[in-house]
């Protein structure tokens, strides 16, 4: 029995926590950043020899970054630059004990700063770093970039269907549901579903409660599926496709997501806006949006684009995408990011 215990202990020691830093065209290394009761997973994949990293700041809160790690991105973006898939606290493969009280925006901004510091420690202080924020990640990325001098740590921001202003977001979602809904009704498309949505929007015109915001978001997700020409994505099928290949910790992802999406954080986020702080942003900015994004409508991207002080900024809209342009218009997504990063990296 003693030998068995020793054997297991040696296996544990040798099997995990190896410090591995690779500069190559096809790196793949996982490490963790510990902060305030959370060990947050960071998977760095791709061309680390380029000395250029793009940090994916995922949505949710709690959605995790595993889902973004697709074959297409691996073949068309990771071949040029490295991508750091960061699982925020209480998301994906991130681990801890009783750390729910630390799940707040300020803490997550500090977490992101520490992830950047660790990336620079591992891959060199001279690396180029870009933040890519999707959905809620757009808010977190904006909170980071508008805090103190934090944006000096990065070379650029890529806002992908991100929400930097939740109250404005809700109003725009309602307006878009009403406008597009009426157009679709006139075309006799999904009349029953659109009627329900329009009736709800007409009876809730503003000053939304938290529950109304949640309902609007549900309708926004449904609405994307009613638009012909928008590439539909099947998230469960995607999870099944990559679960074994990318070694998903499925139950960790699920329970973290359930916890985070029901946490008090969401009620606080409902009042958060960064439109009035965007003037502080001076780094280069790329705004990537889906034309049929009801969850974070295109005008939200316009607001972000107009209010940043960056002299170098561009905006690209995909005509076949909704809220998830990285899956719905993969080529445009990878090409636009590659061109932007190429232009502004060291």
């Amino acid at each position: 029995m003693r030998s068995l215990v020793l054997f297991i202990f040696i296996l544990v020691l040798s099997g995990c926590q190896k410090t591995e830093i690779t500069f190559s065209g096809h790196a793949s290394e996982t490490f963790y950043v510990e902060n305030a009761g959370a060990s947050m997973r960071v998977l760095v994949e791709g061309n680390t020899a380029s000395k250029t990293l793009i940090i994916f700041v995922h949505g949710g809160p709690g959605a995790g970054s595993f889902i973004y790690n697709t074959d297409y991105i691996r073949e068309n973006l990771e071949d040029k630059y490295a991508i750091a898939y960061w699982d925020q606290r209480n998301a994906g493969a991130s681990q801890g004990n009783c750390n729910g009280d630390e799940l707040n925006l300020d803490q997550m901004v500090e977490d992101l700063k520490k992830v950047i510091q660790v990336l620079k420690y591992r891959y060199g202080q001279d690396i180029s770093l870009f933040l890519l924020g999707h959905s809620f990640g757009g808010l977190l990325m904006t909170a980071f970039a508008t805090k103190a001098d934090y944006q000096t740590l990065i070379n650029g921001l890529i806002n992908v269907n991100g929400s930097h202003n939740y109250p404005l977001n809700e109003t725009l979602t309602r307006n878009m549901l009403l406008t597009v809904g009426q157009q679709q009704l006139a075309l006799n498309q999904n009349s029953e579903e659109w009627t329900d949505i329009i009736n709800y929007c007409n009876s809730h015109s503003g000053n939304f409660t938290f529950n109304e915001s949640v309902q609007l978001e549900k309708y926004a997700i449904d609405a994307e599926g009613f638009i012909p020409g928008v590439k539909q994505i099947n998230i469960p099928a995607q999870i099944l496709k990559y679960a074994i290949k990318n070694k998903y910790p499925l139950t960790s992802m699920l329970f973290n997501y359930i916890f985070s999406s029901n946490a008090d954080l969401n009620k606080k986020l409902a009042k958060k806006e960064f439109s009035s702080f965007l003037y502080k942003v001076t780094v280069p900015v790329l705004v990537l949006w889906g034309k049929y994004d009801f969850v974070c409508p295109q005008e939200l991207g316009d607001d972000f684009f107009m209010k940043v002080s960056s002299s170098e900024k561009s905006k690209i809209v995909s005509p076949v995408s909704g809220h998830n342009i990285m899956f719905q218009d993969e080529k445009l997504f990878c090409d636009a990011i590659a061109a932007f990063v190429q232009k502004f990296r060291h």
Partner: protein
């Protein structure tokens, strides 16, 4: 008074019907058991080693209409297990469990079992862990991981080679589900499949277990 009489008669009748004992069957199942198994979660490898202490063995001999006797053994054990699995990039988990095991063995040697228990888990996160101090100094935390409490439940089937072949071995497959908490202020659930061998050591280091034998005859 009538109620008391009926209860007394029933009790006496029950008593005289369970009077016979088959000690040889008991002894076979009363040995200290050692277990070694492959402990897998989906594709992720692991090992489990354990020890079983018999607590109660009930041997029930049933005689059917054709007067053929069939003996079923219902055993209860307390087991202690040391387990480990490796999920690359996520964590390694070393966990100790103690379980209450209920096993039912048929005359041919096939058995089914259910277990539930409590445990303690220590994880080691699946990669180098960095900490950044307030002044920006980055350091590596060795063997970073977390302690969790555990609840386990499982069920499985197997074959006891001792019943027919006199080999002190059992083969078994078992599906376990365990929960670790507090995991990020919530719980973590994980299924694990065990495939292994159980070895009856032949020593009676713990023989204070209850031995009961019951004979039931089916009458017309």
């Amino acid at each position: 008074m009538l109620k008391l009489l009926i209860i007394s008669v029933s009790a006496w009748f029950s008593f005289i019907c369970v009077g016979q004992t088959d000690s040889s069957r008991m002894v076979n199942n009363a040995l200290l058991g050692l277990k070694l198994s492959y402990n897998s979660s989906l594709i992720y490898p692991g090992l489990s080693a354990g020890i079983e202490f018999p607590v109660k063995i009930v041997s029930v001999a049933k005689t059917n209409k054709a007067l053929v006797e069939k003996a079923i053994t219902r055993s209860r054990f307390i087991s202690g297990n040391m387990n480990w699995y490796h999920h690359p990039g996520f964590h390694d988990n070393v966990y100790l469990t103690t379980e209450w095991v209920m096993r039912r063995t048929k005359p041919g040697g096939f058995f089914s079992e259910f277990s539930s228990g409590l445990g303690f888990s220590r994880t080691f996160v699946g990669g180098t862990t960095y900490r950044v101090a307030a002044d920006g100094i980055v350091s590596i935390e060795k063997l970073r991981g977390y302690n969790y409490a555990m609840i386990t439940a499982g069920g499985g089937i197997g074959y006891d080679l001792q019943q027919k072949n006199q080999l002190p071995l059992s083969l078994f497959g078992k599906m376990n589900l365990f929960s670790m908490f507090p995991y990020n202020s919530t719980i973590y659930l994980r299924p694990a499949f065990e495939l292994g061998l159980r070895f009856n050591t032949g020593c009676f280091i713990f023989n204070r277990f209850k031995k009961i034998s019951v004979t039931k005859t089916k009458s017309k």
